[in-house]
Amino acid sequence: MATLLIAFALLLLTGVAAIALRAQADIAQRIGQAGAVLGSLVGLGAAIAVLCGAKPALLVLNWPMPGGGIHLVVDRLSAYFLLPVFGVSTLTGLYGRSYLSKQGEPANAAGSWFHLNVLTAAMALVVVARDGLLFLLAWEIMALAPFFLVVFEDRREAARQAAWIYLAAAHLGTAFLLVLFVLLGNRAGTSDFAGFAGVLHDDPALSSTVFVLALIGFGSKAGIVPAHVWLPEAHPAAPSHASALMSGAMIKVGVYGLVRMLTLLGAPQAWWGWALLVAGAVSGVLGVLYALAQHDLKRLLAYHSVENIGIIFIGIGVGVLGLAYDLPVLAAFGFAAGLLHVVNHAIFKGLLFLGAGAVQHATHTVELEELGGLLKRMPWTGACFLIGSAAIVGLPPLNGFVSEFLLIYAGYAGLLLPTAAAAAAGLTTLVAMGLIGGLAAACFAKAFGVVFLGTPRSVEAEHAHEAAWPMLAAMAILALLCIVIGFAGPFVIPALAGIVSEASGLPANQIGASLAPLSAALQVATTVFLGMAALAAGLWIIRGWRLARAGVRRAPVWGCGFPRPTARMQYTASSFAQPLVSQFRLLIANREALVAPSGYFPTEASFTSDSGDPFLRLLFVPTFRWFGRLAARLNVIQHGHIHVYVLYVAATLIALLAWVSL
């Protein structure tokens, strides 16, 4: 625990120092960065120590705040979720200063380190807190700190709007958690998590209520449809490394909250599992569909976070169903898949956001239609981004594939079970994963292809430069992790057993037993991939040798006889996605305006597509408008006539007197 406290101290002190010295932006930035990196590394050490079998760290202090206490525990589950938190924050810290060098006002940039480090500390505190009030406090701080990062470019109206949507969503989510913890605290008579388990175990009604509250409260943080609307607004507005931290770590804390609650809720009911499964499937599919429709790189990535959270929820849902139907194998697979994907997503989503940041830093835009041909100009960034894309699509042999393999296999395992319900769950999983996989591939083919391949679509892209070394280093480490975990899958899965057992409440050895055959299978699969890689390498060498003798020329590509293909002739992102988008027009519902060329000598033609979030546009904004109009009606009682004001006083009095006399 001491190490963790040191990490907190480092993060907070340097953060405060950074904001205090914001006048000397450069020094402040150095301090903030140092604190972020060192503090996160220390914290990472603490987490790894616990995961490596050190006994759970514990800290209990008296907190004079009534109805609360300071109770921190770092058990395996917490430590596991500390990995993305501290891991990602280490690298974002490493990345941040070079990135901020040309972004925003220097003072803001310096101050942003405070919010960044506070965010990290708050996330860690949420993950280790075992007291309702402490948890809520940390949760709220964790919600507030990114607010200042989202509003980073505060001169832009869009950023302020995004910040509003973000914090409003976060706070409304917290409202449910407030009810949750107050309810539990009231029943249990204590705000300590240990006390909650007792009252929940033998009260299904209560635990169902708590589950619903948790699903909404934590789901909104994690970004489950329809509570996802803040992600695509907040992530593009924030500095890219902040987006990486939010998307890589913060939304995982939402998942953590849900998992932690599940451990307290006692024997789960089947419909919880179904709720999670359906929520996950819907979020996964809609998330990737909306991503497909985007032409802003960071919005696209944000929607992919929704998708991946969906995948995680599917995993947890399958796990809960496994527990509910008393099918431990299914439970093990589900939880293992979900939890593994938590870390995997943290890795490749962090990588992708950092990559997007590098692109933004180099070209000052993330608008797909203005990019292109960057692979030649920033090869290393391109390579890392390619690996990240392949990983998030779930292609073998990268880490994304491992968790999706687990999950799809869980689906198949469900199929083989006699219970029709389990089979149905399995089928749902498979269909969802199938759709998600295919669509994600399409989406990232578009993203990578349009950004890094072909010819530049704008002058900025034309003159893009490779990112600075710290940024490259951060991305390279993450890319490396994608590959390593991909090949180390067989050894990663057994390591999950202990964490899964804490999450699912099943004995570790039983889980180990049910996971063992899978890791064996993955071992074989890995050898296949190694063979494949070797074959590819061989073929590469051979064809190189042949071509060396046969000779290579360069020529313009075939353009129906048009000799000089220009950037404007290239397939655009929108046109690339158009077939799929129009296929799912019903769900995506993005507004398109087409001015078609007409006549023999067409003059003007234009096509614009607005991919604003349908839920925001068709559900939330109208609701808020309606509420605003409703509230405006109140105006009539405050019309400024003093006589009537006095009459109010009299009327209230008379009403009360009448009420008591009756």
């Binding site: 105006n635 405050q638 400024g640 006589h643 009537v644």
Partner: protein, 214 residues
């Protein structure tokens, strides 16, 4: 001496109706003065335990205040502000009088409700107090002219005074004086307020004061 109380009651009620019925502010002020003097006597009569110095003192102060000082202030204000009649109140004079009758009936009923709880309080005065309060409120709500609103407030004051005098057997002198002082200051403050408003707006029709809304 219930007979005396009854007389005070009746005359007091009539002053109320006069206030409701007349449009001329000067008249209103005079009726108010009369009313004040009348009801200032109530404690002297109501207290069957003889006339203590304290009671006399209070009564005297009241008469002085409500019978002379307030009217003086108000009349001065009227001339300074230069308005002499209430033009078209929200609720017309006839309607006001009708309201007065209804209010009278209601306060009779209410007094009958309350009397058992306040057994030692003379019924007539109880009913009068309630009636005064309701009329005062009505004046504030139904008249445009700020001055008449002040008058309404003072009618309420009278009602409260009567109510206190008949219900509470003995309150500390300090309190009584404090209350008097407050009424005193209140009238002055309101007077100054009206003066400022008048000098700023050129008139003191409080229904012009409705710029602040929402």
């Amino acid at each position: 001496m219930p007979g005396l109380l009854a007389t005070i009651d009746v005359v007091g009620l009539l002053t109320c109706f006069a206030l409701l019925g007349t449009s001329r502010i000067g008249a209103c002020i005079r009726f108010l003065a009369l009313q004040g003097i009348l009801f200032s006597l109530v404690p002297v009569i109501a207290h069957d335990d003889g006339l203590t110095v304290r009671v006399l003192l209070l009564a005297g102060a009241n008469v002085a205040l409500k019978g002379m000082i307030f009217p003086a202030v108000l009349l001065r204000l009227r001339t300074r502000a230069g308005f002499h009649r209430e033009v078209q109140p929200y609720i017309g004079f006839v309607a006001s009088i009708l309201f007065g009758i209804v209010a009278l009936a209601v306060s009779l009923g209410l007094a009958r409700e309350l009397h058992p709880a306040l057994s030692h309080a003379p019924f007539a005065m109880l009913e009068a107090a309630i009636f005064l309060i309701s009329i005062g409120l009505f004046l504030i709500v139904s008249r445009r002219n700020a001055l008449i609103q002040v008058i309404g407030y003072l009618v309420i004051e009278n009602g409260i005074f009567v109510f206190g005098a008949i219900t509470v057997v003995e309150t500390p002198l300090l309190v009584e004086l404090g209350i008097l002082l407050d009424a005193f200051v209140a009238v002055f403050v309101m007077g100054i307020a009206i003066f400022h408003i008048n000098s700023e707006f050129g008139m003191a029709d409080s229904d012009r004061l409705n710029t602040l809304r929402g």
